[in-house]
Structure formats: structure tokens, C-alpha cells
Point group: C2
Chain length 338, copies 2
DNA sequence: CTGAAAGCGCTTACAG
DNA sequence: CTGAAAGCGCTTACAG
């Protein structure tokens, strides 16, 4: 490369000022049509590259949006991210992604990086134990925050997520309606709002049906395929002999079904299993997974939309926005055999 | 927020110059120990946030690395990204991710964004049909490029990927050694280097074993679970009645096995299936998937390392670096029933 | 060990 | 419709 092409290079080569060139490249109506044409042609010919750092230093808008979730490799988040990506792309915002793996420290480092880069805003699924101060750090420095998937206690930010208690009750009620009475709950933790809501929804559904809640039927754990797979052993050796399992999510359910199959039982016939999220692979699994649609793409799209609106001065997105889950009945559940 | 805290705010509040403050915050030995202490304390107390755009404008290093792959939601890339992330994190580089979904245009937009942000370098798995000019664009503007997973014809950049021809031959030979003679190849395309190498490796292994290669036994297609699932119908209705399938990757294999199970056959017994990549879920599937380890984490780690070294002035990473794949034998393959 | 001053490449009033 | 000039917040020679 010979030497850096900048606005002034173009300006000099055409005998114009940098002001005019700057305006022309951003399609300002102030600039005469044919001046603009000439400028754009020359910029192209010289291989000019717009320096966003310089512009952003001047305007204090960066065109960058941060997104931080537990783990982008989890298909649940991946589906949300895909929706965020397409919404931000359409609005020519660059998005910077990070996993926090539920480390508050990693999350804080990322927020600081975003502040240093002058990010316009951040969409986050907060790490377990996120201190309100970390949120304040962002907001105090003019970087709006939108929450997805999880809430934070005592923090009133725009939040987009599924209605977990309602959704898990759908799954539980479905199993009850098939005649099941001994229903285990597999996966999840009380450390997140989601975890508490889902367990509460399960308990409430059982109580409404006058089924006694046995805490030993709850097998908490990570929310992964491997965790579901490994939980199968404990599940199958429960003294209560459950005939059905409400799983925290599709990953746990698919893992559990695989573990059940390894033990020589047939998931969907011998044991009914429900998932949660309705991931793309739920319908592909064998047996096809009965699950609860959790609106990942809705969550992503709405959260991105809310942030963009906020950047344009709107404020009416504050508060909790619940997506209403829907039941998806497939082959992994069947009537209780008598 | 009252007003922006900057270097000069700190400097004034302590009766020092911005030069000293700047040096102190970056731990320059030029600054007296107790001056540095005082400065750091004050910065902390004032809630100072370092402005990387300003710094980067001055130094022309941004601390940003771009990563672009086909689809981060594909676990194959996800596993690579995880390794890249941990390597870059350790070196305090921020990484910006993008999917190109094999759109050359989306990829070019991303490269331009990186240039505008002054990214220090980019790691990419190039989109199908990437023109050499797009690579040149990056390099001409001083942004080094490292390739992963796929090569580009006639481009000699540092490239890290598995040895596809060798790896797929491992899988094919494994099936041959079990007595299979009619072996289909499911998934993939000739449009990528990977696709061509894998098909070539399959063909070569058959030929070496004196098995006639029947092009109709190849069912090309996308590299997803859904594609594998949908291919099951075609696979099972092939007039040649293959007894085994070499799948493009684990996703296709898992989808195919599910499709085979839906049809009432038992994958691993009635039909032997091999995958490729050894994703985390390969060992969790039922039957556990026989597959080829493809070194995703090695690829990610080495590529990130190579870029970091290059940024520090090294040049010896150029050329092709092949990871040698390894066979992982599990339950999805079994001897041909006679 | 510390300071004064220039400059990175833009954009934005302001003037004409 | 176009230009001259200031300034965004840093870092880096250079001087002392």
C-alpha cells in the first residue's frame, strides 16, 4: 500500500475541501449532485476507506452494539442471536458478541470493552449474580441495556423473555392429561430467574391437579445434552419410578432420551419426555420431541428492535415483555400405560 | 452522568499533564511509582473510562480481531470459535464475529467494516467463491488474513485445517474393513475445497480396495442435521441398497440416523453410519457415533496463535498447516451381516 | 521524572 | 452550494 487515503487526499485531488467531501460521501443534500458524483467516483478509484474511529470520536456514535449471553454455542441462544443479527444488519450496526459463561467478571470486562469502544448499546442475558452496579456502569455512561431470556431482581430494564412459569405448566399439564402422575423434572437451577420460574410452574401445575409434589423427583443440573444424558442413570433409578420427565430444555430432553435408549427402554413409549424451546432439531429427533415453543426469534427480533428504537430516542420499551409460549405435541409423549 | 471524564480531567485534578497521566495508566516505567499510584487511584475514583477510539486513532492499533465463518451456530465452527476466543481473551484482544452464510457480498461488507474499525487482523473460513480481490483488499490495507477450515485456490495465506482426504479415507476404510462393499456418501458439495477433498478421499479409498465407485451412491446436500434427516428417504430407496453411509459430518450423520430410525431400521445394526468432526454430541448420540476427530480446537488455537504472532512481527506461519484427523470408533458401525 | 504541543482523520457549526 | 477552522480524546516525540 502506497499511503493512506483519507478525506483530505480526495479533497486535494479534486480541489475541494474536506467538509464538502465528507458531506458528499454521506449523501448530504447540501452538496450539488454532480460534485457528489465526482467525489464518490474519486473515492472509489482511490480505494478510500472510511475511518470509523475518527468519525466516532467526533460524533460519539460508533455503530457498534454489544451482545452478551451465557454461551453462543447453545442453540437456544444461537437462535436468538440469529434474529438479532438480521435486525441489526438491516440497520447497518456492527455487533460484537461475547460469552460470559456465567462469570460476572468476564461479563464486566466485556461491558468495559464496549464502553471503551463507545458502543451504542448492549443486549444481554445477564450472568448469574450480576450486580446492579454493573448495569449502572453501563447506563451511567450512556450505554442503554436491554435484557433477554433472564430478568435481574430489582432492576427495571426493558426485558424480553418467554413466560417460563406458564410454558412449563403447559408441558406438565400435557403429561397430566395423558394420565401421568409421577413426573420428574430434569435439569436447571434456582440460581437464575428462569430456573425459579420453571420449577414454580411445574409445582403449581401438579398442585392444581392434586398431585403431591415430591422434591426428590427434581434432578437439577446443567442445561446441556450431556447433562440430560448423564441424568438418565439417576432418573431411571429413582425409587418412585416416574413414568414421565419434564425437561428444562430440548437439549436436556434429547440427552435424556438418548440415555434412556441406551438403557434399553424406548423414549416416547416407556417413558414420556417433554422438552422446552422447540429448537430446530426437536422435530428432527427420533422420537420427535414434544416441547414448548419459546419464541427465540421473537425475543431476538424484539430486543434488537427495542434497542434501535431507544437509540433513536424512543423510551416506551421499558419494563417486562413476556412472550407467550405454545405447546408442540409430537412423538416423545404418549398416554400412561396401565 | 455529570460530564465525561477524560485524561485531562484527571490531569487537572492532580495538577499534572495528560502525558504523565497517559503514561501512568499504561504502567510506563518512566513515571514515578507514587505518581502512578495517585493517578490510578484518582482515575478509579472518578470512574474514568479509557477511550479506545481516540487511542487507536493515534496509534493505529485497535485491539480488534475479526472472525468470519459460514455459520457460528454450526457446532463445528462453534468449537473452533471457542478455542479462538480463549486464545484472544488471554491476549486482551476483542473479537468481532460474523456469519457469511456463503454470501460473498455479506463477507465483503464485513471485511469493509473491519477495515473501517481498524481491525488488527481477521481469521476467516472463506465463503464459496471468495474472489482473491477481497483478500487483497484486506492485505493492501494492512489487515493480515488467516484462513481456517477451507482453502482458497491460488491464494497462499496461512491456512489451518484438517486433512480432509486423509480423514474421510479413515472412515471409508473402517467400513471396508467391516466387510461393507456398498457404501454411500451423504452430504457436502463440490463447491468448497473441503467438499472436493472429502469426495476424493472417499473415491480413492474405494478404488484402493478394488470396489467400483458408483456416482449414484453419492447424495450431495447441505451439511446440517435436517439435510441428513431428509436424505434418509433417498438413501433407503437407492436401488443398490447400501449397507453403510459415510456422512459429510456428524450433523448429517446424526440426522441420517434419526431418519433411519424413523423408517423402523436400527442405525448401527441394520445400517452402519460414520460421521466427521467428532463433535461433543457424537459420543452422546444413541447409538454413539463412529466418527473422525477433526481437531476443531487445534485449528482455532493455532489460527489465533498465528495471527497474534503475525501482529507481533513474525512471518513464519505462511502456508498450509494440516491437522491429522483420527478415527473414533463407537457403536454406529458394525460388521456387515451376511 | 514531567510537561507543552502536535497530530491521528473525521464532522460540525459558522461564514460567505 | 462550498470552505476555513476548531475539536473529539488520546499518544508520542521532544525538551527540560
Amino acid at each position: 500500500m502506497a499511503q493512506k487515503i483519507k478525506l483530505s487526499t480526495i479533497a486535494e485531488s479534486l480541489g475541494l475541501s474536506t467538509a464538502t467531501v465528507s458531506l458528499a460521501l454521506r449523501d448530504s443534500p447540501l452538496v450539488a449532485d454532480n460534485t457528489r458524483e465526482k467525489i464518490k467516483e474519486r473515492a472509489q478509484a482511490l480505494g478510500y476507506i472510511y475511518n470509523r474511529r475518527a468519525a466516532s470520536l467526533r460524533t460519539s456514535r460508533s455503530g457498534i452494539v454489544g451482545v452478551v449471553v451465557h454461551d453462543i454455542m447453545n442453540p437456544f441462544y444461537a437462535e436468538i442471536l440469529r434474529a438479532i443479527e438480521s435486525e441489526l444488519d438491516r440497520n447497518r450496526q456492527t455487533f460484537i458478541l461475547s460469552n460470559h459463561y456465567d462469570s460476572v467478571e468476564k461479563q464486566r470486562n466485556f461491558l468495559e470493552t464496549l464502553l471503551q469502544l463507545g458502543a451504542d448499546g448492549v443486549i444481554m442475558s445477564p450472568a448469574i449474580g450480576t450486580p446492579p452496579d454493573d448495569i449502572r456502569l453501563a447506563e451511567d455512561n450512556n450505554m442503554p441495556v436491554i435484557l433477554i431470556a433472564r430478568s435481574i431482581e430489582n432492576v427495571t430494564l426493558p426485558t424480553y423473555r418467554g413466560d417460563d412459569a406458564y410454558g412449563i405448566a403447559l408441558a406438565t399439564n400435557h403429561l397430566i392429561s395423558l394420565g401421568h402422575r409421577c413426573i420428574a423434572m430434569i435439569g436447571g437451577t434456582d440460581q437464575t430467574s428462569t430456573g425459579r420460574h420453571r420449577y414454580a410452574g411445574y409445582v403449581e401445575a401438579l398442585e392444581k391437579a392434586n398431585i403431591e409434589v415430591d422434591p426428590k423427583l427434581r434432578i437439577p443440573g446443567p442445561r446441556t445434552k450431556r447433562a440430560g444424558f448423564e441424568a438418565a442413570v439417576n432418573f431411571l433409578s429413582l425409587p418412585q419410578k416416574p413414568t414421565a420427565a419434564v425437561c428444562w430444555n430440548d437439549l436436556v430432553a434429547i440427552g435424556l432420551m438418548s440415555g434412556i435408549a441406551r438403557a434399553g427402554l424406548v423414549p416416547g413409549k416407556d417413558i414420556s419426555v417433554t422438552g422446552y424451546d422447540d429448537l430446530e432439531e426437536a422435530s428432527i429427533a427420533t422420537p420427535a420431541l414434544t416441547t414448548v415453543w419459546n419464541g427465540q426469534s421473537e425475543v431476538g427480533r424484539m430486543a434488537a428492535r427495542a434497542l434501535l428504537d431507544k437509540l433513536n430516542g424512543s423510551t416506551d420499551a421499558d419494563g417486562l415483555h413476556l412472550i407467550r409460549p405454545e405447546m408442540r405435541i409430537r412423538q416423545s409423549t404418549s398416554p400412561l400405560k396401565s
